[in-house]
């Protein structure tokens, strides 16, 4: 097995998703393609040779140009650069794709439950996009918890993706716009019972978010009778 090489990446486009989250579309000659849910390493180099590395989830579907969606962590080192500074034509290096467990294949017919908290939606979006692009037939439901409507990443796209077996259920935990009819609380067992597929369907579950969020969702699903082996998790620690 050859070593994953560092590849030159150029910023080909950028899009604000929320006031603290931006998507960078990258041009990476030689990129070996990826599977939905995988991540990559980013390496930034300063003029004097100082380097910093971090891992980021890939937001784009397999077969599409690599897109990274990055949330600014105020005390971070790499994320403020990627969110606020990098612009079209700027370059850095990437290495990947990485990870062979938190991945979903569009040919898998089992129903899929995606549970995302905040920027935890990013690798899940790669799965939703992958399903749409491949014309996958697996029923897929995204349960997405955000603080407020303004914090919903991919808001417009999530309005147009549903249909053909893909559904989105939002919950807003802090602020709701007037007339909000969706859920208005943190994910709990009752909420999961209403949204999750029946256990008889043996769904595939992908949960991504901060540790407490992931534990609440995963423990809640296990309490509903889900087999822990159906549940794949990815947790965000401090990654600046």
């Amino acid at each position: 097995m050859g070593r994953l090489a560092w590849l030159a990446a150029e910023v080909a486009g950028a899009k604000w998703e929320t006031p603290r989250v931006r998507t960078l579309e990258l041009e990476v000659p030689g990129w070996p393609d990826h599977r939905a849910g995988q991540h990559l390493d980013v390496r930034l180099t300063a003029e004097d040779g100082y380097q910093a590395q971090r891992s980021y989830s890939i937001a784009s579907a397999p077969g599409e140009p690599v897109a990274l969606t990055v949330e600014r962590l105020d005390d971070g080192e790499v994320s403020p650069y990627l969110v606020d500074e990098a612009r079209e034509g700027d370059g850095f290096e990437v290495r990947g794709p990485i990870g062979g467990y938190f991945v979903w294949e569009p040919g898998d017919p089992a129903p899929v439950l995606l549970v995302g908290g905040g920027s935890g939606v990013i690798p899940l979006m790669a799965m939703a996009r992958s399903r749409a692009l491949a014309g996958g037939s697996a029923p897929m439901r995204l349960l997405y918890s955000s603080r407020s409507l303004e914090d919903v990443i991919y808001r417009e796209e999530l309005e147009t993706l549903p249909g053909g077996g893909f559904e989105v259920v939002h919950t807003l935990t802090r602020e709701r716009p007037p007339g909000w009819t969706g859920y208005s609380r943190r994910i709990d067992r009752e909420l999961l019972a209403e949204v999750a597929w029946p256990g008889e369907d043996e769904p595939k579950v992908f949960v991504c978010g901060a540790t407490r969020f992931v534990d609440a969702a995963a423990d809640g699903l296990v309490a509903l009778g889900y087999d822990p082996r159906w549940i794949r998790t990815e947790r965000f620690g401090a990654t600046g």
Binding site: L4, R43, A46, A52, E77, Y81, G99, D215, A218, G237
Partner: protein
């Protein structure tokens, strides 16, 4: 040297270079990473066993806690890039456990609640290099960090320090564990930056 990223200068609060391996940054937090739900095995049902020797050997929780323990202060390094200095643990040395086992194995696979496994050469878990840890910072190890007990192999990337460990399986040959079958390096030495397959 890589491609210069215009406008990037970096934060550079990266501590003593002889303690921070290449590509790592320091954190004061203790981030949590795991591939599935957190298991909760009651202590009265919990056992630790070593299999694959002349005879399998099993300890109950009370028996494990009655073995001589050590306090361990070590730096830890996660493959996701964070390092944390001077972490304090309490646990039983793998050397102590292996004294009870007759074997001629060269590798081990640690196995855990939840199905997680990780592989290690025997020499990476002997001679004072690895422990079954049940205490962290003077407190019982919390479930999210692998409690009641986790393997602690601080000189390798921290995925080798398997959470919720329930035993070791002695082997003659190296056999990839969970992450090692999913793209991560067989050994995982942070000082050689052995993160992924082929590193």
């Amino acid at each position: 040297m890589g491609i210069i990223s215009r406008g990037f200068s970096g934060r550079r609060q990266d501590g003593p270079p002889d303690r921070v391996p290449p590509g790592q940054y320091l954190t004061d937090d203790f981030p949590v990473l795991s591939a599935g739900p957190t298991p909760h095995t009651p202590l009265e049902e919990w056992t630790f066993s070593i299999q694959g020797g002349a005879e399998p050997v099993t300890w109950t929780w009370e028996e494990l806690r009655a073995l001589p323990s050590e306090t361990i202060s070590k730096d830890i390094h996660c493959v996701t890039k964070w390092s944390k200095l001077d972490t304090n643990w309490e646990g039983v040395s793998i050397d102590t456990l292996l004294e009870a086992v007759e074997h001629d194995a060269e590798y081990v696979v640690a196995f855990c609640d939840g199905g997680y496994t990780t592989n290690l050469p025997l020499e990476d878990v002997t001679d004072g290099k690895a422990w079954i840890a049940y205490g962290y910072d003077g407190e019982p190890l919390e479930p999210e960090h692998g409690g009641p007990a986790r393997l602690l192999v601080p000189h390798l990337y921290f995925w080798k320090s398997a959470k919720w460990v329930r035993g070791l399986s002695l082997r003659e040959e190296d056999e990839p564990g969970f992450w090692e079958s999913n793209g991560y390096h067989l050994r995982g030495d942070p000082w050689q930056e052995q993160r992924y397959w082929g590193d």
